[in-house]
């Protein structure tokens, strides 16, 4: 009974497990399962992108095509949404996209851990984007950056209502960006776990239906893993565009 109770615990997979108990200057820096996955993720990205490109072939092979495709995907996204001035931020957006994407995908491996299923991680990423964008806006336009909150061609009396709304929507960005990714990851993985529990619970006679469902859901989760990385990257691009071009 206790074993079955543990099987249908959908949140157990998100538990942080400390492998070491390190502390520096009173800050807990323990190496956890989350840290391990982060290291694996960045190692995978770096190794893949460097090894697949080591041939530097004119006609790319399969692996090189994937590397070039991911590069061009983000490069085009920046070009279309920000313009030529977004080129400077390419390494940043590319790193964010690859980190979220590979974290999501590696998290799909059974018994692994999804780094992006923790609000603190996604919020830190979103906050990095937010702070970068805000600093870029301030350094570029100085005081004029505040015009982002006052859309042009709007009558004065409407501005009284509009400006607070714009300000709130601006500062809500890191929250919406992080919660969207976090919630998608948690919901998908929890749902997989719940139906996985059903398969075992219903046994050989009744387990087939949830098994079929879980199979379809796994496919959907791979789509979500990619889609959320894409959404995270493209929203970062759009925020960057706001800051650089002050378009609204």
């Amino acid at each position: 009974m206790a074993g079955e109770q543990k099987l249908i615990d959908p949140m157990g997979q998100f538990e942080i497990k400390r492998f070491t108990n390190w502390e520096i200057a009173g800050v807990d820096v323990s190496f956890t399962n989350s840290s391990l996955m982060m290291v694996i993720v960045i190692a995978l990205i770096t190794l893949f992108l460097t090894f697949s490109m080591r041939g530097r072939s004119m006609v790319p092979g399969r692996m090189q095509s994937i590397a070039e495709l991911s590069y061009e995907f983000i490069a085009n996204m920046l070009k279309e949404n920000v313009g030529p001035e977004g080129r400077k931020f390419f390494p940043f957006i590319f790193s964010v996209f690859m980190f979220v994407l590979i974290s999501n995908l590696v998290g799909m491996i059974p018994y692994s851990f999804t780094v992006t299923s923790h609000i603190v991680v996604t919020f830190a990423l979103a906050l990095t984007v937010f702070i970068t964008v805000t600093l870029v806006g301030i350094f570029r336009h100085g005081f004029k950056f505040l015009s982002l909150f006052a859309p042009s061609g709007v009558p004065f009396y409407l501005l009284i209502i509009l400006v607070p709304i714009e300000v709130i929507s601006y500062f809500v960005r890191p929250i919406s960006l992080s919660v969207r990714l976090f919630a998608n990851m948690v919901a998908g993985h929890a749902l997989l776990k719940v139906f996985g529990g059903f398969v075992v619970g219903l046994g050989i006679w009744g387990g087939w239906l949830p098994l079929g469902f879980i199979t379809a859901l796994t496919g959907l989760e791979f789509l979500v893993a990619f889609l959320q990385a894409y959404v995270f990257a493209i929203l970062s691009c759009l925020y960057l565009n706001d800051a650089i071009n002050l378009h609204h």
């Binding site: 820096v29 530097r56 061009e72």
Partner: protein, 163 residues
């Protein structure tokens, strides 16, 4: 919900910062330059090849135009030669024809003249023979010797009447 356990925040944040900074540096210094180098190399190669192809096609266009011009020139030249030759032949033919005609005309005239002469000679011979015959006949019939002049006049008068 394990995500809301505040004690777990700091190790995750610390490791996220470490990992993300490493990833950013690896991307910016290693992976991205490598990929962009290959992509730009390919772009350069493609545009160079396209330029080369354009140049070659222009060259072939030019060569074709030159060839057409040469062909045209040769054709007009050949036409001219043919016309010239034709004209030459025609004039030559005309000249030889005229010469031939003149030749024939003189020959015809000569022939006419010799015929006329022959006729005259023949006629005078006939006159002589007739005179002789008439003289012989007269001397045989009447045994008189007619004077030649008288006889000749009589023959002439007779032949005039016949002619």
């Amino acid at each position: 919900m394990p995500q809301l356990n505040i004690a777990d925040f700091s190790p995750q944040l610390v490791w996220l910062v470490i990992c993300f900074v490493i990833l950013y540096i690896a991307m910016a210094k290693l992976a991205i330059p490598r990929i962009s180098e290959v992509l730009e190399g390919r772009q350069d190669r493609i545009s160079k090849d396209l330029d080369e192809a354009k140049r070659l096609s222009e060259d072939s266009e030019k060569a074709k135009a030159e060839y057409e011009a040469a062909l045209d020139e040769a054709r007009t030249k050949a036409h001219g030669m043919v016309a010239e030759l034709k004209a030459e032949l025609a004039s030559e033919q005309e000249a030889s024809k005229a010469k031939l005609e003149a030749d024939l005309a003189t020959k015809a005239k000569d022939a006419e003249q010799s015929i006329a002469k022959a006729k005259e000679t023949a006629l005078s011979n006939v006159k002589d023979i007739a005179g002789e015959a008439a003289k012989a006949a007269v001397s045989r019939l009447v045994a008189v010797d007619v004077a030649d002049a008288e006889l000749q006049a009589a023959v002439d008068a007779q032949m005039k009447g016949d002619a």
